[in-house]
Amino acid sequence: MPVTVVLPAALHPRAGGRTTLEVDIPAPTTLNDILDVIAARYPDLSRRIRDETGALRRHVNFFIDGEESRRLGGGDAPITPDTRIELIPSVAGG
C-alpha cells in the first residue's frame, strides 16, 4: 500500500493542484526517502519543505500517523507502507 502525503493548501499549486500525493514503497524506509521521491516529481514543492542540504524547513511540521517527525528522528523517521504523512505549517510569525 502506498504512503499518503497530505499537503497544505498553500502547496497545492506546487504539486500541480494535487491535495495529496501517493508514494509506493516496497519496504520500510525513511521520511527523507519519501521526500526524495517527491522532489524528483515536484522540485518546486520540494524546495519549499526542505532546504538544499536536505534539512526539513524549520516551520513546516511533518506529522507521521499523527506524531510530529522531529520526535521520531526527523528526516530519518521510519516510514512503513500505509503511513499517512501530513504536512502542516507551524504557527509562526507576527
Partner: protein, 365 residues
Amino acid sequence: MDTSNTQQVLVAIGTRKGLFLATGSGVDWEVTGPHHAMTDVYAVAIDTRRATPRLLVGITSEHWGPSVAVSDDLGRTWTEPDHAPVAFPTDTGAALARVWQLAPGPVDEPDVVYAGVEPSALFRSEDGGLTYEFVRGLWDHPHREHWMPGFGGQAVHSVLPHPREAGRVTVAMSTGGVYVTEDGGRSFGASNQGISAYFMPDPYPEFGQCVHKIAQHPDRPERFFAQNHHGVYRSDDGARTWQSIADGLPSDFGFPMVVHPHKPDTIYTFPLVADAMRFPPDGRCRVYRSDDAGATWRALTEGLPSEGYWSAVMRDALCVDNAQTAGVYFGTRCGEVYASRDEGEHWTRVAAHLPDVFSVRAAVI
C-alpha cells in the same frame, strides 16, 4: 513641490510582509500589493537594461524558505523556476537563509545579475536573474571563518559590478567589510584600510568591519562611498583606502548610502543617532545630501516630518531613480515611503501604514 518632473516612475517597496508597487509622477501615487504576501523582501531590483524593466525580488517565507521571483510586466505576473534559483552547492554544507541584494550587472553584460546572500556569499546569474551560480572564490576566502553575524545576520548586502572592467566586482558584508575581486570571482581581497571597527581589539583591522552599505557611480568607478557602523567614508582609489567624510553630519551612524544617478559627487544618507540609539537625531526625519563628495552636508527637510519621528531607514530603503532630474525615495520601519522628484529638495508621501520597509528601488517606466 516641483511638479515639472512628470515622468512616470515605478517604486518597488520591499517590506516585512511582501512587496508593494507604487506608480506615479510625484503627486498622486497608485499603490498595489501586497505582492508575495507574508514574505520578507530584503532585496528589490529594477533592471532597466531591458525595453520593459524587469523586476527582481528576493523573498523569504518563514514557512517555505527563500526564493527569487521576477516579473517582466511591471509586477502583474511573476515567475520562479521549479528548482531553487539560488542554492549552495552540496559540498559547502550551507543553506540559503535569505537574498539580501540583487544587483544588475554592467550595461554590456545585459543578462548578468548578482545576488548577495546570507550566509555571506555571492552568486552570479547569466540569464537575467532567473537562476544563479555560486561564486566560489569568496566562500573559499580564508577570512570567512572569522566573519561574524551582525545584529541582522551575516550577509553580503552590497554588490557593485565595475561598469567597464569585466570581472571586477566590489562587495560588502556585515561583518567582514569590503572585498574586491579583479578576476571574475576566482579570488577576493579585503579592502578596508581606513575603515573603523571600534568594536574590535584592533580598531583598524584588515577585515572584520561592519560596513552597512557601499555605493559607486558608474561614471567615476574608482570612487566609492561607505556608510559604516559608525563612520562615513569615501575612497578615491578603487576601495583600497578610505577617508572619513562624516564631518558635517549630525551622526556618523546609519545604514544607507546612495549616489546620484548623474552627479558622481552627490550622495545621500539617513543618519541615526548611534548604535545604541537608532533614531533620527532629535526625532526629525531628515535625509542628508552632499554635493561635493562628502566635504559638506545639507539636511533635506521640505515636506518631511519635522518632529516626533523615531523610525529608521534600513540599508536598502533609500534609493534614486534614473530620471534626468533625479528622484530620491526612502521607506521607514514604520511603513512610510517618501519621494522627492527634484533630487531631495521637496518631498511627498507615497504610502503609509505599510509593514516595516526593508528595501526601495525606483525607475522611470
